[in-house]
Structure formats: structure tokens, C-alpha cells
């Protein structure tokens, strides 16, 4: 799946992108170290203006890095990008096609440029559910259909790596679910997916690992369950909360007013209550979700627009 000795499909080191304008220098990406392991779906999260899209554009050769190094499948990019671009499917920002051509014409031109057979176009159209509308002009498509066409274009290459920047933008709930299932299926089939999204619940459902960036810097990276953290709080449900609170306090546990107990030893908790003749109705681990982690990490880093 990957040619990288480290087992990473995407690697960046000290990646930096500066934009110069009349208003001065703006740093969109600052010394970003990113490592996306082969296989699975990797979330790429960050508030508006955090540098997600700029990073993706640099990886795909659409923007030049000011400093730092990047590798795709172990090959340095942009120098060796032509050697690996055939294995990378990507949707960057909004779909960009010729509005006067039909969806099929747009796909046909892209397929021909890589020597893909016409049957690949049929298959891609079918996969994203555009059959029947593929001969209509692109400009007549709804945003959701445009998004589907963009995903169809990525499938023309039969990619090993999919980079998707907000792929469910504009889709209806059914469409979002379809795309989510498609992404999950691709991940399970061995395709590495880098999914940039603002919809954190979606990322948490689909992604196996994630990187969170803010103001162009990496804030956290790892498996989603590691980012969310091992649960250390449990909600305790008992018939007599006052007695239970006393017993647990005597056993050395801290109990909140909502009967939440901070511990990494839930077995000791049940033992203490059981020894006092108090039987549990409920012992539920209370997990933080990705949204809480995200908001905690990115507090104060939001800018005006995505860069």
C-alpha cells in the first residue's frame, strides 16, 4: 500500500507557507509536521483559516511550500509528484469543472488525460449515483450533485490515497450518509483517506485517526480514541445516592454532585459499593467527544476564512 519506509502515506516536516500581500506577510501554515499512516480514514481538523486547505494544496502541487519537506508514498513532492499523482484522488475545496460541459464530458476529459477507459467513467458515475443526470450540463447540477461528480472524478484513478476537503458540503442527509459509507468502505478496502471536515461527529464516526491543527500548527495527532482520551469518569446510578457517596468517599473516591466518579479503577468502585450492600443500577463511562477536544485545542485560533 505504501512505499514509505515509515509506513506513512503522507508525511510533512517543518512545512510552512507564507503569503505576501500589501498588508504584509501572512503565515498560513507554520512548521507543520504531519504523518498519515497507510490505510484507514484520517481526519484533518481545524477551524477556518487554520491552514488545512493550504496544506492539502501544497501536497497536491497546487501551491508551493515556502519551507519544509513533504512526501507522498515516500516520494518527495512536488519534485516526484508526477510519479505518484496517479495514485492520489483529491477534491480540494469546491468542485471545479467546466460548467458548459456535461458531467460525463468533464469526467471523460479527465479520464482520457490518464488513459483510463470509458468504462471507468461509467463505473464512477454509477458509484456516486449520478446515472441519468450525467449527460446534463454541470451548471445545472445542485451543489450536492457537483460534490458527487468531484468524488466520481477521484475514483477515475482507482486511487490508493484519497484526499477529501469537505466532501459532504451541500449534500442532503441521505447523501451525507452515502458518502460517509463510501469513505468508510474505501478505508476498509485499504485506501488511505485524508478527510478534512468541519463536521466533527462525522469525523468521529468515520475516522480511525486524526490530526487537529490551528493557526497553521499541529495541535494534536493520533488515533481518535487516544485523542478523545481513555475515559476516567463514570456515572454511578444507585438506589441510595447519599449512602453511596459516603461509602465511596471513605474508599478514597471523589464524587461530584451529578454522581460522577473520577477513577481509572472502576472494579474497585463496584467492590466498595458491593461490600457496603449497595448494588449498582448504572455504571456508565463518560467520554469526551471529539468536538470537546477540538474546541478545547482550538480555542482562540479561529480566523476569518479557510486558508
Amino acid at each position: 500500500m505504501t512505499d514509505s519506509p515509515g509506513g506513512y502515506v503522507i508525511e510533512t516536516s517543518g512545512l510552512r507557507k507564507e503569503f505576501r500581500s500589501r498588508r504584509g506577510l501572512r503565515v498560513a501554515v507554520a512548521d507543520l509536521d504531519l504523518a498519515v499512516p497507510a490505510g484507514g480514514v484520517h481526519g484533518f481538523l481545524g477551524p477556518n483559516g487554520s491552514g488545512k486547505t493550504t496544506t492539502i494544496r501544497m501536497l497536491l502541487g497546487l501551491a508551493r511550500a515556502t519551507a519544509g519537506t513533504m512526501r507522498l508514498f515516500g516520494e518527495p513532492v512536488p519534485n516526484r509528484l508526477p510519479a505518484v499523482i496517479g495514485r492520489v484522488g483529491a477534491v480540494v475545496e469546491s468542485p471545479k469543472f467546466s460548467p458548459h460541459f456535461s458531467g460525463r464530458q468533464n469526467l471523460t476529459l479527465l479520464a482520457r488525460s490518464i488513459g483510463a477507459p470509458a468504462s471507468r467513467v461509467d463505473a464512477a458515475v454509477d458509484t456516486v449515483g449520478l446515472t441519468g443526470r450525467d449527460r446534463d450540463r454541470y451548471k445545472s447540477y445542485s451543489l450536492g450533485m457537483k460534490q458527487r461528480l468531484a468524488i466520481a472524478a477521484t475514483l477515475l484513478k482507482d486511487p490508493s490515497l484519497l484526499i477529501l476537503d469537505e466532501p459532504t458540503n451541500g449534500l442532503d442527509p441521505a447523501g451525507i450518509r452515502e458518502i460517509r459509507d463510501t469513505i468508510r468502505g474505501l478505508g476498509e478496502a485499504g485506501v488511505t483517506v485524508l478527510l478534512s471536515s468541519h463536521i466533527l461527529a462525522e469525523v468521529q464516526q468515520v475516522c480511525t485517526s486524526a490530526t487537529i491543527i490551528g493557526q497553521g500548527r499541529m495541535l494534536a495527532s493520533g488515533r481518535v480514541d487516544e485523542l478523545v482520551g481513555a475515559s476516567t469518569a463514570y456515572r454511578v446510578g444507585v438506589p441510595d445516592p447519599v449512602a453511596a457517596r459516603r461509602v465511596l468517599a471513605e474508599a478514597g473516591f471523589t464524587v461530584s454532585a451529578e454522581m460522577l466518579v473520577e477513577t481509572d479503577r472502576p472494579a474497585d468502585l463496584t467492590q466498595a459499593l458491593g461490600a457496603a450492600g449497595i448494588w449498582l443500577n448504572e455504571l456508565t463511562p463518560v467520554r469526551r467527544d471529539l468536538e470537546a477536544v477540538f474546541l478545547e485545542l482550538t480555542a482562540g485560533t479561529e480566523l476569518g476564512g479557510d486558508a
Partner: protein, 320 residues
């Protein structure tokens, strides 16, 4: 590479705006040819009768009011006849290949082909930038130099094919019309005309390439057209105002290419004043020759500079 060129030719074929411009590059020269054939048609008997009638009326008016014609009343009869004869000679200039090349429709056809094919080259790629689909294309072929070249080959190839066919058809139509009208022609007139057309076709194809290269540089059809309009409008004026020689005027160099050399005007030095100009005394001549190679170098260098800047820009700049 050939695969990419094929893709660009298909893209070009599917672009309606480009097709419309190519169609205009065919239709307008056809209309020019038709108008020239019509304007040089031999007079019919009815027209000859009309001319005779108008002449008679004019003579009668002159005889009645000779002072209005500057003729003394005493000699009105004979002088009016002589005066008016020159006004109604009853003929049109016949079609002439050399005249059409020198001062007629030939240069007009080249101008039309150049304008429409330049706009076609500009529109073709301006659309890619305007819609943002250029970035999508680069996600499938990351070698930007190849992408630039494939598009350039498609634009230039189509422009050359269209302009060569249109030019050749134009001159063959003129030639066959002259033959049909039994108008005598100089030896080699057809060959000279076809060569004129071919040089014009090459110039039009180069203009299409230039328009394409400029649009790849500016990334906007509007910006390219604006710059070209500004250069066309102000370039000649600035050259004149700055006192730069006539040989640097853009249109003179076009003439030099298409007409296989042309004349330009120079101010002879003060030492020539009152001097009798003898054969070989070129320094005092008010006209000099601007050869084909000078015109080709003038536009060739401009094209190479534009294409070079365009390629470097496309390879280095971020693509939106």
C-alpha cells in the same frame, strides 16, 4: 504527450465559444471574398445604359448652368461633354490578385483571421482559469510544462489549420474568379498569392499562440484582451510620440511579414536638403525597405518572450 494533445483538442472541440470564433474566422473571410467578387464584377448592359443616361443628364445640367461647372457659357456644349466624360467612365476596377495583396482584401483577411484566432486561443484557456478547472486538470497531470505545451500545440495547430485552409480557399476563389472573367494574370500571381496567404496564416497561428500564452500568464481572458487592446491602441501612438522609427510600428512589421517586405518612412538627415539624390544614395531616401526577416524577428522575439514568461509563471505560481 499525444494523449494530452488529444484531450485538449477534444476540449477545444467541445467549447462553443471557441467554435463560434473559429466559425467567424471562416465566415467573415468568405464574406470579404464575396464582397470583393461582387464589387469587381463586370458592368452589365443595364448598368452601362444607366451610366450613359446619368452622363447625359449631367451634361444637360452642365449646359444649362455652365457657370456652376466653371465653364464659360459660350463653350458650354463642347466643354461640358469633355468634363463629364471623366466622371462617368462606365467601368469598375477589375479583380486583381496583386492589388488585393498590396492594398486590398488580402491584409483584411489576415487581420480577421488574426483577431478571431487570437480570441479563440485566449477564450479557450481563459475558461479553464475562470472556472477553476485548471487545478482539477493538474490533479490528473501534475507536469505543468506538459499541460502548457499540450494546450499550446492544440491551440496553435487548430489556428494554423483553419487559417491556412481559409487563406488558401480565399486566394483560390479570387484566382478562379479572375479566370472565369478572362482577366489576364501575371505569371506566378497565384503562387505569390498563396504564399501571401500562408504567411498570413502563420502570423494568425502565432497570434493565437500569443493570446493563449498571455492568458496563461494573466490567468484571465479579460486581462489579456485589455492588455492587447491597450497595446494596439497606445503602442503605435507611444512609438510615434517618442520619435522611435517607423520601422518599429507594429502594423509595419505585420506588413513586412505578410507582404514579404514593406516600405517604411524615414526623415532624411539635414545634409540631404537640396541635394540631388542619385541611384545608390540610400541615405537620403525617404523610404526604406523593412524586410520579412525583420518583421519575423520583431514578432518572433515578442512571442518567445511572452511564451517564456507564460511557461515560467505557470510552472512556479500557485494555481487557485
Amino acid at each position: 504527450m499525444m494523449r494530452l494533445v488529444g484531450v485538449e483538442l477534444t476540449r477545444l472541440r467541445w467549447r462553443r465559444a471557441v467554435l463560434a470564433l473559429v466559425l467567424l474566422a471562416i465566415v467573415v473571410p468568405a464574406l470579404i471574398a464575396a464582397s470583393r467578387i461582387w464589387a469587381t464584377r463586370p458592368l452589365s448592359q443595364d448598368e452601362l445604359d444607366d451610366v450613359a443616361s446619368m452622363k447625359a443628364e449631367e451634361v444637360a445640367r452642365c449646359v444649362e448652368h455652365p457657370r456652376q461647372y466653371g465653364i464659360p457659357k459660350a463653350h458650354a456644349e463642347e466643354q461640358c461633354e469633355d468634363l463629364v466624360r471623366g466622371w462617368y467612365y462606365g467601368a469598375r476596377q477589375p479583380l486583381s490578385l496583386s492589388r488585393e495583396r498590396r492594398e486590398g482584401s488580402g491584409i483584411g483577411v489576415v487581420a480577421v483571421l488574426t483577431a478571431f484566432l487570437l480570441l479563440a486561443g485566449t477564450t479557450f484557456v481563459g475558461h479553464d482559469w475562470n472556472t477553476g478547472s485548471m487545478s482539477n486538470q493538474l490533479l490528473f497531470e501534475a507536469r505543468r510544462g506538459r499541460v502548457w505545451t499540450a494546450k499550446a500545440v492544440a491551440v496553435t495547430g487548430v489556428a494554423l489549420a483553419v487559417s491556412a485552409v481559409v487563406s488558401t480557399a480565399f486566394w483560390l476563389t479570387m484566382w478562379s474568379t479572375m479566370r472565369a472573367r478572362d482577366i489576364p494574370m501575371l505569371d506566378g500571381a497565384l503562387g505569390d498569392s498563396l504564399a501571401f496567404g500562408l504567411r498570413g496564416a502563420l502570423f494568425a497561428a502565432a497570434a493565437a499562440l500569443g493570446g493563449y500564452a498571455l492568458t496563461m500568464l494573466f490567468r484571465s481572458t479579460v486581462a489579456t484582451v485589455g492588455v492587447l487592446f491597450g497595446v494596439a491602441l497606445a503602442g503605435g501612438i507611444i512609438i510615434s510620440v517618442l520619435g522611435i522609427g517607423d520601422q518599429w510600428q507594429p502594423q509595419k512589421n505585420v506588413s513586412a511579414i505578410v507582404k514579404n517586405g514593406t516600405l517604411y518612412y524615414v526623415q532624411p538627415p539635414p545634409s540631404c536638403e537640396g541635394r540631388v539624390i542619385e541611384p545608390g544614395d540610400d541615405e537620403c531616401l525617404g523610404e526604406r525597405e523593412l524586410p520579412l526577416w525583420r518583421g519575423a524577428t520583431y514578432y518572433g522575439l515578442a512571442l518567445v518572450a511572452t511564451a517564456g514568461a507564460s511557461v515560467v509563471s505557470f510552472r512556479r505560481r500557485d494555481v487557485p
